[in-house]
């Protein structure tokens, strides 16, 4: 999550980062995905910041947005459909 905060702050500054309402909801290390909550008006900002990440703890990395959804319940449903 530090990498995400750092990317948001680098691109939009602390003022911009404060508008995103970023929270880590879930992180599955085995499958390599995380659920992040953000304010709906800041989705594009968060998406941009995630795309700009190239390293996590000095190791090459890339983060791809799988699904965007309005509620966590709907997100899990979409995720299940996708993994099936």
């Amino acid at each position: 999550m530090d990498a995400v905060w750092s990317a948001v702050s680098k691109l939009y500054g602390e003022y911009g980062a404060s508008q995103t309402g970023l929270t880590l909801i879930d992180y599955n290390m085995e499958k390599g995905f995380a659920i992040i909550r953000a304010v709906h008006t800041a989705v594009n900002m968060v998406r941009t910041a995630l795309a700009s990440i190239t390293k996590i703890e000095n190791k090459p990395a890339a983060i791809h947005v799988l699904i965007v959804s309005g509620t966590i319940r709907a997100l899990h449903k979409k995720l299940e459909n996708r993994l099936l």
């Binding site: 680098k10 594009n44 998406r47 941009t48 795309a51 090459p60 890339a62 791809h64 947005v65």
Partner: protein, 244 residues
């Protein structure tokens, strides 16, 4: 209608076929349906066909591309004469103003690429855009420098890109966003690429067009022109026979 997403600038090391295959696979998983790989000047048809076969396995369409880095307008014309019918996409890496001007007005050039992050070495201004709009050339923006650069260098690059994107839109020059990736880690989903375009003030529809409509149109147009049925713009052979 569902968009067909394209990344017209992948530059893997062609000697490492495993890496080429991995990048094509990744592009397929990232929902691209059309990619272009940069080949060297002396690329053989068999080499291109071999990579095209790999792409077919991953259900992805491959277009052959060449990046020209001429030192003078004369050299550019010589390259174009020699290579236009050999490759589906021709991009010119504009490292001088004279080359940039010649590339913008030549109808055989598809993409104008300005790699330098230095504002003074980027030549996409109103004069360049006016020439490009008449000759069907598109402005290519690679996202790799945006991901690599940090701090003031990235700020300066974003400022240049913002100015160039505004000029391109004013003169109706299509913008094509590509990854410019030589490695899987620099490949991004089309929607993420479009989100990155918001950093230089491209609206959502234009940004999505830059990763779908604009690049696919270039490939479609060039494939028609390179087909044996093509005679001249707007004229093609429909049927051959005595009663035509």
């Amino acid at each position: 209608m569902k968009r067909i997403y394209a990344d017209l600038h992948l530059c893997p090391n062609l000697r490492d076929m495993e890496k080429v295959s991995n990048m094509i696979n990744k592009a397929s998983r990232l929902e691209y349906r059309l990619i272009a790989i940069t080949f060297p000047l002396n690329a053989k048809r068999e080499e291109i066909e071999r990579i095209r076969d790999i792409s077919r396995e991953y259900k992805i369409d491959l277009a052959s591309r060449i990046d020209l880095k001429p030192k003078s307008p004369k050299e550019l014309i010589q390259y174009l004469r020699k290579l236009r019918r050999k490759f589906e996409i021709i991009a010119v890496i504009c490292e001088s103003k004279t080359v940039a001007r010649q590339a913008a007005k030549d109808r055989r050039v598809d993409l104008l690429n300005f790699p330098s992050p230095n504002t003074h070495r980027r030549f996409f201004d109103t004069a360049e855009a006016e020439l490009a709009s008449k000759a069907l050339a598109s402005l290519e923006i690679d996202i790799k420098p945006l991901l690599i650069l940090e701090g003031p260098a990235r700020v300066r690059l974003l400022s240049s890109l913002r100015r160039e994107a505004a000029i391109a839109q004013k003169f109706h020059v299509p913008i094509v966003m590509s990854s410019g990736a030589s490695d899987e880690f620099f490949m991004r989903k089309p929607r993420d690429m479009a989100a990155l375009a918001s950093l230089f003030d491209l609206d959502e529809v234009s940004a999505l067009d830059a990763v779908s409509k604009n690049p696919t149109q270039i490939v479609k147009r060039n494939r028609e022109n390179l087909s044996p049925k093509f005679v001249a713009p707007g004229i093609k052979v429909i049927r051959k026979g005595k009663d035509c």
